[in-house]
């Protein structure tokens, strides 16, 4: 195959997933310019490894490379954000401490009215999750990947996908409920 034909075939496979690639990189780096750098580098890497791609989900394949490029970039530029060497599965997800049991007394999330401020807050809450939890939320809720695909992309067992997702959601829901309770106290 000529080099140009190889480029064309790669573009047909990879470019339809550019938004997915950018979305994941943007959520992991939390910055537009950094996400663009990472995505450009990831596409070059993907092109380099393209001959090794043997079918399957093209989006999951590309996202695996994007994710890996993101973590390399974070390790190099913001190592403090990538928590390594401690037990993630046992970690507290927010400073207030995460209740390991369901708290049925919590008020329901108020979803009827979603103001811009609420939306901003929700996005901040997701952005503040550790990257290993943030990514499963993004891959599941925004990319609608299956647990199996997320397991492949993030290189973790399916059980870990489910437990991280559960803990991330509980943390979000808790923070969201607190915001609802606060709003109620302030008469908003």
């Amino acid at each position: 195959m000529s080099e140009q034909a190889r480029v064309r075939r790669f573009e047909q496979v990879a470019l339809p997933h550019l938004d997915a690639a950018y979305n994941l990189a943007r959520w992991l780096t939390r910055n537009d310019a950094d996400a663009e750098d990472v995505v450009q580098e990831a596409f070059l890497r993907a092109f380099k490894f393209f001959d090794g791609f043997r079918g399957g989900s093209e989006r999951a394949w590309l996202l695996t490379i994007v994710r890996h490029t993101c973590y390399s970039w974070l390790q190099q530029n913001r190592p403090a954000e990538v928590v390594a060497g401690y037990d993630l599965e046992a970690a507290e997800l927010d400073p207030a401490g995460l209740d390991p049991t369901f708290r049925t007394a919590d008020p329901n999330p108020e979803i009827a009215l979603m103001h811009q401020a609420d939306e901003d807050l929700l996005n901040e809450m997701i952005a503040e999750l550790p990257p290993q939890f943030r990514e499963v939320v993004i891959l599941r809720e925004l990319e609608d990947l299956s647990y199996k695909e997320i397991a492949d992309v993030a290189a973790i067992p399916i059980g870990t996908v489910m437990s991280r997702l559960a803990r991330a959601r509980k943390a979000l829901q808790r923070a969201w409920s607190e915001r609802g309770a606060q709003a109620a106290r302030h008469g908003a």
Partner: protein
């Protein structure tokens, strides 16, 4: 099913990722357990909030364009070697043989690794432009750039500032070429970046000029160092740059 088991699997249920028999067990439990049912409803509501309101960052238009042009640049740099191979194997035409022969002769004249090295130099130059990773240390101050390399390499590169001559220093970075870590100093001529690659190599060799894929490469050796300047500036300007660097480089620096 116990509440504990349901708690462990309710997310899989929510995401429709469970086996049929697990689903049936959870559904039966939720019907009979108000507490778990409330938990499930709350999580379901939260998920729909996230799905509707979490920001989906779509790629900016220029990113797709940048990726396409990166790939084409990369393919252009990779192409020559493949084309020669194709000429050998796929075509018996005398023209192709003659072409291949002349390419072979050029390689021979350049020395055993001249051709491959020029290709690597151009590839390193293109890579530095498209990965947006031109510099590790961005500074126009030679006294900032030079010490940055301390401890990173077994040499201290000569760093000269040529701003007054129209070739301002932009910065430096470590690069990897010809199976070794090398110094890359970055200069600019108008809008055009110039990569100056430096590594230790004995001997003195006069400047040698090569043009490859639209990039000009000037290589020379002096004071125990090998220098290679790569840029898309015209050859005259790159040769002028070479003379300035050569004149300002002293053995003791």
């Amino acid at each position: 099913m116990e509440c504990e088991a349901v708690k462990a699997e309710v997310h899989g249920y929510l995401d429709d990722q469970l086996e049929t028999e697990q689903v049936a067990g959870i559904q039966a439990h939720l019907r009979g357990c108000a507490a778990c049912s409330a938990v499930y409803e709350r999580q379901r509501a939260m998920n729909s909030v996230v799905r509707q309101h979490a920001h989906y960052h779509t790629a900016p238009h220029h990113l797709g364009r940048a990726i396409r042009s990166n790939l084409r640049a990369l393919a252009a740099v990779e192409r020559p070697r493949r084309r020669v191979a194709w000429g050998w194997f796929a075509s018996g035409a005398a023209f192709a043989c003659a072409l291949t022969l002349s390419v072979g002769l050029t390689v021979f004249q350049l020395g055993p690794r001249g051709d491959g090295l020029d290709r690597e130099l151009v590839a390193a130059h293109v890579r530095s432009l498209m990965a947006d990773h031109l510099t590790d240390v961005a500074s126009s101050d030679q006294h900032t750039v030079k010490p940055w390399f301390n401890g990173k390499l077994d040499m201290s590169p000569p760093v000269v500032d040529l701003a007054s001559e129209g070739y301002p220093l932009i910065g430096g970075r470590l690069d990897y070429l010809d199976d070794r870590a090398v110094v890359a100093l970055v200069y600019r001529r108008a809008k055009h970046p110039i990569n100056l690659f430096i590594w230790p190599e004995a001997g003195t060799v006069a400047p040698h000029v090569e043009t490859r894929q639209g990039y000009n490469v000037v290589r020379w050796r002096q004071h125990g160092m090998s220098f290679s300047a790569v840029s898309d500036v015209n050859l005259g300007e790159l040769e002028a740059f070479q003379k300035l660097i050569a004149a300002d480089t002293t053995g003791g620096d």
